[in-house]
């Protein structure tokens, strides 16, 4: 009887190691500063994580399919700048679909290069990182983009509104996560994404359209980036050209922290959400503790390594192993 219980605990640990690490951090930070777990703070952290989070959801598809997407940061700057600019030119109702169309076109280009032309995704998206940055600067002429009438536009609802007692960015994050979670775990397309990332050659010989699957993953990623850009633009109603700079690595860190393999074939939407929340709460927790910020960079890294280690240790059932 005791054995079965221990096995159950073991399998729970192995499956949910990262979740347990997350709860451990929450408890630790709350002891350090009791204000950490107040509803106001929790909502504010999740709301600011929503932008990074929505992007990470899309990148999860790309990573599971065995590829990388380093262009999401500068693509998000692009979406934000474009939608802010078009807001004053053609009105928000047209600006939003126009911005989505342009961002999806960029995603389609990357998807075509990586999926159909089979170019290395690291090179393609690293190149796109600076190419899209250049595109954004060309578009804006390097100037900050601001909506002129900040008080009188309904556009602010996506970043600043609330519904059902929750901030809209959080609801959008939950909505996109639920939708993409269903697609990934309950549809044949989702199965194909895992198959392509797990063993692309085998997938091809099983009749799975590898190129089209990869292409679709980049489209999903671009749609998520456009959604993130929408929230970002609406939250501050103005933006620098560099608003998304550096986010690509945080996004990737969240996805990998959640347990997706960089080699492809594994990962889930739920775990990416946990990865995103860990990053968000670490940043906020360190601010609340009031640690000097030079030290924060180091501590953030230590906590991430600790989380990954706990996750792997839980999967192995022991803290240390001589074999990989």
């Amino acid at each position: 009887m005791a054995d079965i219980t221990r096995q159950q605990i073991g399998s729970l640990l192995a499956k949910q190691g990262i979740l347990i690490a997350f709860v451990a951090f929450l408890i630790g930070f709350t002891i350090a500063n009791p204000k950490f777990l107040t509803p106001d703070n929790v909502l504010s952290v999740i709301r600011s994580s929503a932008i990074l989070g929505v992007m990470a959801l899309g990148v999860t598809f790309v990573v599971i399919s065995g590829n990388l997407d380093l262009s999401v940061g500068s693509m998000m700057s692009f979406s934000t700048i474009v939608v802010l600019d078009l807001h004053d030119k053609i009105g928000p109702a047209l600006a939003i679909p126009a911005m989505f169309a342009m961002t999806l076109a960029l995603g389609a280009l990357i998807g075509f290069l990586v999926g159909y032309l089979k170019l290395n995704s690291l090179i393609v998206t690293l190149g796109m990182l600076s190419a899209i940055h250049g595109l954004t600067l060309t578009y804006s002429g390097g100037k900050n983009m601001d909506i002129v009438d900040k008080e009188g536009t309904w556009f602010s609802v996506f970043g600043q509104g609330t519904a059902l007692g929750l901030p809209i960015p959080i609801l959008m994050f939950i909505g996109v996560a639920a939708l993409l979670g269903l697609i990934l775990s309950r549809t044949s397309f989702g199965r194909k994404v895992y198959a392509v990332g797990g063993n692309g050659t085998a997938a091809t010989f099983s009749g799975i359209p590898r190129a089209r699957t990869v292409f679709m993953c980049y489209l999903i990623s671009a749609a998520c980036v456009a959604t993130a850009g929408l929230i970002q633009a609406s939250r501050s109603l103005g933006s620098q050209n560099t608003v998304g700079q550096g986010l690509e690595l945080e996004v990737l860190a969240a996805v990998i922290l959640g347990g997706a393999s960089l080699l492809g074939g594994s990962g889930t939407i739920f775990k990416t959400v946990i990865g995103v929340l860990i990053l968000g709460f670490i940043q906020n927790g360190l601010l609340l503790i009031g640690l000097q910020f030079y030290v924060q960079f180091i501590v953030t890294w230590v906590i991430i390594i600790l989380a990954v280690w706990l996750d792997i240790a839980a999967k192995r059932g022991k803290l240390w192993s001589p074999i990989a």
Partner: protein, 315 residues
């Protein structure tokens, strides 16, 4: 016309141009045009100022934020035998060897906007730019004066959002502010300092955390208005009123927030003044005038009270 003839002809024109008048050929390598409105405006103002001065022949380059490219550009300018080089350093340390090379080639170097590290001062004729320590000090004075008006100078609590850690401008403004505040308002406490990385969104997140951590915040000083407006957005969303926001480098968004009564004050720093001062410093040196090594242009205080004297910044 054959290719050879074209080459000879064009060489002749270049030579004629060089020998003809007493023009000053001044090369500039900028930090990262296009990354923000300030630098974009600076470049167009510099080109305009050089165009108005018929004695100046300007070679305008941009390093795109890349140190290696900037070093290569300085070497190119040395090869072109320009009369003076203006540099807006991408990195205060890494450019020093290239600056030394220009110095050894007998070309005077002017540093603009952000100074290089002290180790390179011997190779530089003059620094033209804003005095960031004074800017920080003036921001402290603006805030202190406002606290005195409100009668809370004996108890006010301030949080401080700085620019990018390690960036000279950020360090100098922070130092100016934190040194000056105790001199003018000894009982005001600066309760927390965190970086906003010159980024509005990052600053908003930092301010959200401050608002949770401190029930009583009377003033926010941010290293530029862009971050200041991010902090203001956070306070507005949290419904916290009566906070005095003071920034630096008055941006259009900061100016608008001042007009709306949400934002108290800032430091007026014009990229047009910055660019014109750099060019003037270079031409003054070439004309043999004596200049101080640190040749600052004035960056006055701007608050809701006197903002009518200043036009809205273009960036």
């Amino acid at each position: 016309m054959t290719l050879r003839m074209t080459l000879i002809a064009s060489t002749a024109i270049v030579l004629a141009g060089a020998a003809g008048a007493e023009t000053m050929k001044i090369g500039i390598t900028q930090n990262n045009v296009g990354v923000d409105s300030y630098q974009t405006t600076y470049e167009s103002a510099f080109i305009a100022a050089a165009g108005e001065n018929s004695d100046v022949d300007a070679v305008v380059l941009d390093a795109g934020g890349d140190v290696a490219r900037q070093i290569a550009q300085i070497e190119d300018l040395i090869q072109q035998e320009v009369d003076a080089i203006i540099i807006w350093p991408t990195n205060g340390e890494a450019v020093i060897p290239a600056v030394r090379k220009a110095h050894q080639a007998g070309i005077p170097v002017v540093v603009t906007n952000s100074n290089i590290a002290e180790a390179g001062f011997d190779f530089v004729k003059s620094f033209s730019g804003p005095d960031n320590i004074t800017q920080g000090a003036r921001s402290a004075e603006i805030m202190c004066d406002k606290f005195k008006d409100m009668g809370i100078e004996g108890e006010a609590q301030v949080v401080h959002i700085t620019g990018q850690p390690g960036y000279t401008t950020a360090i100098e403004r922070a130092k100016g502010f934190e040194d000056r505040m105790p001199e003018v308002c000894p009982d005001v406490s600066i309760v927390d300092t965190q970086p906003g990385d010159w980024n509005r969104e990052k600053s908003q997140q930092v301010m959200e955390a401050f608002l949770v951590k401190y029930d009583d915040i009377d003033g926010v000083y941010s290293g530029d208005d862009n971050m200041g407006v991010g902090a203001l957005n956070a306070a507005k969303a949290a419904g916290r009123e009566g906070i005095i926001f003071v920034g630096a480098t008055n941006f259009a968004v900061g100016y608008e927030a001042m007009a709306a009564g949400d934002y108290w004050g800032s430091i007026y720093q014009s990229p047009v003044d910055d660019a014109e001062a750099a060019l003037k410093t270079a031409t003054d040196i070439l004309e043999g005038k004596e200049l101080p090594f640190l040749n600052y242009f004035d960056t006055p205080k701007i608050t809701q009270d006197n903002m009518g004297d200043y036009t809205k910044p273009v960036f």
